[in-house]
Point group: C2
Chain length 337, copies 2
């Protein structure tokens, strides 16, 4: 990593804290080796103390496994990078609110530091996933990149000149909350017509439910066994691949919404690459082909020509890789001792 | 200017080339003195050779005036910064297309350099206006700023970490082409529902014309002497200040559109300041008050709290000041000799 002050054989543990699972693993500072990647349930209902303890134990187990597998010493472990849902106060290392975890003002970074004795950093989970794809994944070798993770919500991150861009108060990169239609669907954030209100996993399922109303039963009906409340975005992608016309329409419509949002981002940020991650990637070219066509119709030509739009390369480990990369960027110039 | 390698008493000439006027002036490298600011007609119909010759003569006259007023020597003039309508190829110093000028692939930077013997740089006019406000105007002292200039079109610029952000192919900052309504008004750029299609000067006039249809004649009618085709955005602001209900509605609606676009930008870029320039500033608090309220309704709270939204402080000279600032940034590290 450019600017890392750590020796290449230093190890950093990465933690990607989600509402359902904690993903964890360790990387060498030069990105050349990944060891002990795994995940375990978050069990958020047990509260922040218990979850933090679980993270600390997982960090210690990861260190032990790396030592066993590589012969590394404990002294070679220079820190822990943590990605967590936001909003965060990065400077203080505090999770301000995380609805999926039920946390408020939780000083996660200090807790992990105190329990492990290791330097720790905290950054937004979607920022970390973007930085991971930039460091070792689909956006490798670029200076300016946008990452978009589509799941229950739509998260995002922006890399500018090879650095995560955080903005004035760590909000930057909320790609899910660009506007598609300023008088359109209400978004959970309180705004109207955000991309997330149209193209998140639940929004895709919702649009499929709406589209099935009064239509002939098809593949989607069989997948949900007649209970439309069970529809998920993954079922829509699967049904689309099996030729279900309603699902195909919903995927195309999703591509148009994403294309409108990404087109606007190309006009504003003119990135070299937009990396899409999350379940939506499973839709494959049936999504990416119309998405690229929509962006081409909407954005300025020199911006379209300069930009690749592609699926992430790291899958579920992007957040862990990126948490390590964020640690390296945040501690640049920090004495690793 | 941070990072300038020029002595503080070096002089740079700034040129802001527009479709109607060429604004020009000279600044000292430390921004402490401005001399010989003036403007003259572009006369674009005479073609690129004639306009370029007019620029070169204006540069020489500006240098002479500075020498007369300050006793500076010719050797103290280290270069010319030029702001021009885009799209541009900054690396080659070429205006790729400028519809308002009727130019295609015009190597403006080299022409000016060859004729004056001075280093020259070229950047987008809206980028320069933003950088000018950042250097010596309303965005002074910030790291991350967005500038929006509302006129015939809506131009914009982005300053990140105190540097103009250009993106992969010099398109970045096309703030006029963020989406308000992806199935809405057709924009001149080919896209649908761009901010520019709702809130540019001509779009404001067009909405006023639409709103007057079938309504009682009021202040606006008197201003245009019954000929609605003569409405301009400036008349709408004036009528609004005189209490014309239609004009007041149009200004409020403009504030809502701008608020939707700026709200989305706050979620993505989380700037410290958004500076608005152009005729729209004449609408004063009747625009800014509802605009700030709309942004507050739409964007994430920590982004709203971190950001001031305000009129530019430099008026028509922002582009000239910024062209000089862009020269200083582009030539950082260049030997000024």
């Amino acid at each position: 990593m450019p600017g890392s002050h750590f020796p290449p054989d230093a190890w950093i543990v990465g933690v990607d804290l989600g509402g359902t699972n904690i993903a964890i693993g360790a990387l060498q500072a030069d990105g050349s080796r990944e060891v002990a990647f795994h995940s375990e349930p978050t069990l958020a209902v047990e509260g922040p103390e218990a979850v933090t303890e679980r993270i600390v134990k997982a960090v210690e187990r990861t260190i032990t496994r790396v030592q066993q597998e590589t012969g590394a010493t404990r002294a070679q472990f220079v820190g822990v990078g943590i990605g967590a849902p936001g909003p965060l106060d990065r400077a203080r290392g505090v999770v301000i609110t995380a609805p999926n975890l039920g946390w408020t003002d939780w000083p996660l970074r200090e807790k992990v530091h105190a329990a492990t004795g290791l330097h720790a950093t905290l950054d937004n989970d979607a920022n970390c996933a973007t930085l991971g794809e930039w460091w070792l994944g689909a956006a490798r070798g670029t200076r300016n990149a946008i990452g978009i993770t589509i799941g229950t919500g739509i998260g995002g991150g922006i890399v500018i000149d090879g650095q995560l861009y955080h903005g004035a108060s760590d909000v930057a990169g909320e790609i899910g909350h660009v506007t598609i239609d300023s008088t359109g669907r209400r978004c959970k954030c309180g705004n109207y017509g955000c991309l997330e209100a149209y193209a998140s996993g639940p929004a895709i399922a919702e649009r499929a439910r709406e589209a099935m109303w009064g239509e002939e039963p098809g593949v989607l009906w069989r997948l949900v066994e007649g209970d439309v409340s069970r529809i998920t975005a993954q079922m829509v992608y699967a049904a689309s691949k099996q030729g279900d016309p309603i699902a195909i329409d919903v995927v195309r419509e999703t591509a148009r919404y994403l294309g409108a949002g990404i087109g606007a981002l190309l006009n504003v940020l003119n990135p070299e690459v937009v990396v899409l991650a999350g379940g939506v990637v499973n839709a494959g070219e049936s999504l990416f082909q119309p998405l690229r066509a929509e962006v081409k119709r909407r954005a300025f030509r020199p911006a379209v020509e300069a930009c690749r739009i592609m699926p992430g390369a790291l899958g579920g480990s992007a957040g862990v890789v990126g948490a390590v990369a964020a640690f390296l960027q945040q501690t640049r110039g920090l004495d690793p001792a």
